[in-house]
């Protein structure tokens, strides 16, 4: 595992001659905000690094986007809105690679629930019951 991590890190370091990308999966407002901040990227085949999830977006599309972003070489961080993560929770929980890092972010329309976050759950579990004030 550590060897795989090292090679992964090396791959990212190699592709980061000009830096790696951040990918976003989320609702329209969140994605637009991040695009405004300047993370949007289109590659030569006009493939984007973001997915706007609308009410009519199928779960299949979310899955595909998540799988795509987490396997892309040039993506270092995947930001995923929590309600989307909840939709494809099994995929998010299954995902255990350190790179790209998958981050669950709150979205304005859905209240953020720290107990659903897979990483935060583990952190909480490790810190013990004393730190419940999350």
């Amino acid at each position: 595992m550590s060897a795989a991590t090292a090679s992964n890190a090396a791959a990212v370091a190699a592709s980061s001659s000009e830096g790696s990308l951040l990918a976003v999966i989320g609702d329209e407002d969140t994605v637009t905000g991040f695009l405004l901040a300047g993370i949007g990227n289109l590659d030569a085949r006009r493939k984007s690094n973001f997915l706007i999830v609308k009410p009519d977006t199928s779960r299949r599309e979310m899955e595909d986007a998540f799988k795509d972003f987490t396997t892309r070489e040039d993506v270092a961080v995947v930001l995923i809105a929590q309600f989307v993560a909840n939709e494809i929770r099994y995929l998010v929980n299954e995902y255990a690679e350190p790179i790209p890092a998958v981050l669950e972010i709150p979205s304005p329309d859905h209240p953020y629930d720290p107990s659903a976050d897979s990483i935060l759950n583990r952190v909480k579990h490790l810190l013990g019951a004393g730190n419940d004030g999350l």
């Binding site: 595992m1 550590s2 991590t5 090292a6 992964n8 890190a9 990212v12 370091a13 980061s16 000009e18 830096g19 790696s20 990308l21 951040l22 329209e28 407002d29 969140t30 637009t32 905000g33 991040f34 695009l35 405004l36 901040a37 300047g38 993370i39 949007g40 990227n41 289109l42 984007s48 690094n49 973001f50 706007i52 270092a76 961080v77 930001l79 255990a96 690679e97 350190p98 790179i99 890092a101 981050l103 972010i105 709150p106 979205s107 304005p108 953020y112 720290p114 976050d117 990483i119 935060l120 952190v123 490790l126 810190l127 730190n131 999350l134």
Partner: protein
């Protein structure tokens, strides 16, 4: 001695030396790995605390960012959304740079946000390596909301950049968390393997070889003792033989010398039991 928990070796002095060396190596490795595991878990705990803090501030930042976006939408109308979405072209303005941090020999990937769009809190801001492309995207987003709500949009942009900064930091911590978790597990497994499998096995082998060597020594000792005893016995027998031989010679000499022989013979005759005479 069970044969299961020891190495399958020939019990000789050379092998004993080799196994002893390996045992010393295993013990040293165990100590080192234990130290490594301690260092890793120290870092791990620090990261855990930081993750919780950053998660909290991430929530705050995201909240203010979405509020800023709502403001911008209110002022600029719903149309700016499409302007922003359409203005995405070519290379990303903000990227993350990954570099490896070293904790007790474990490489931990860390992210650092960089890009031409100056990030708040980013060290030195952008290096501006993608000059022309960035300039066009920058001007594109700069022109967003030129008609209405430009100020709000810039504010929103700033808020999202701040949030992004926190998110990148969080991603970095999270990656470190996962990597360290793996590394700690591996190290602990090795520590336990050395402590509970390798060291006892080597110790058993050492004691086995020692036992075998002792056994051989005892056998050798016994053999020598036997040989010595046999030699002694032989020597004694020989001595006795010689003695008896020399005695015999002495008798012969006496007969010839003093003439006491016939007397003796007479006495001998007197002592002899005569055959019963039957009349």
């Amino acid at each position: 001695m069970s044969t299961t928990n020891r190495l399958n070796v020939v019990p000789t002095v050379t092998v004993l030396a080799v196994v002893k060396n390996r045992l010393i190596g295993a013990q040293r490795g165990y100590k080192l790995l234990k130290k490594k595991a301690d260092a890793l878990s120290l870092r791990y705990r620090q990261i855990l605390k930081k993750i919780v803090q950053t998660k909290l501030s991430m929530g705050e930042n995201m909240k203010s960012a979405s509020f800023a976006w709502t403001e911008a939408k209110y002022v600029g109308g719903d149309g700016i959304k499409h302007t922003v979405l359409d203005s995405v072209d070519g290379k990303a303005e903000i990227r993350v740079r990954a570099y490896a941090d070293n904790v007790a020999g474990v490489k931990i990937p860390k992210f650092n946000a960089c890009g031409s769009g100056s990030l708040i809190g980013a060290s030195g801001g952008g290096s501006g390596e993608t000059g022309t492309t960035t300039a066009t995207t920058e001007s594109k987003s700069e022109l967003t909301g030129l008609g209405r709500g430009g100020k709000q949009i810039q504010k929103c942009k700033k808020a999202y950049k701040e949030a992004l900064q926190t998110l990148v930091e969080l991603a970095s911590l999270q990656t470190a968390f996962l990597t360290l978790d793996q590394a700690i597990k591996t190290t602990n497994r090795r520590v336990n393997a050395l402590e509970n499998v390798v060291t006892p096995r080597l110790e058993n082998t050492v004691s086995y070889i020692k036992g075998e060597l002792d056994e051989l020594e005892r056998e050798e000792f016994f053999r020598l003792k036997k040989v010595q005893a046999k030699k002694k016995k032989d020597a004694k027998e020989r001595e006795e033989k010689e003695e008896s031989l020399s005695k015999g010679e002495g008798v012969v000499k006496g007969e010839g010398g003093s003439g006491a022989g016939p007397v003796g013979n007479l006495i001998d005759f007197a002592n002899e039991k005569d055959e019963d005479l039957l009349f």
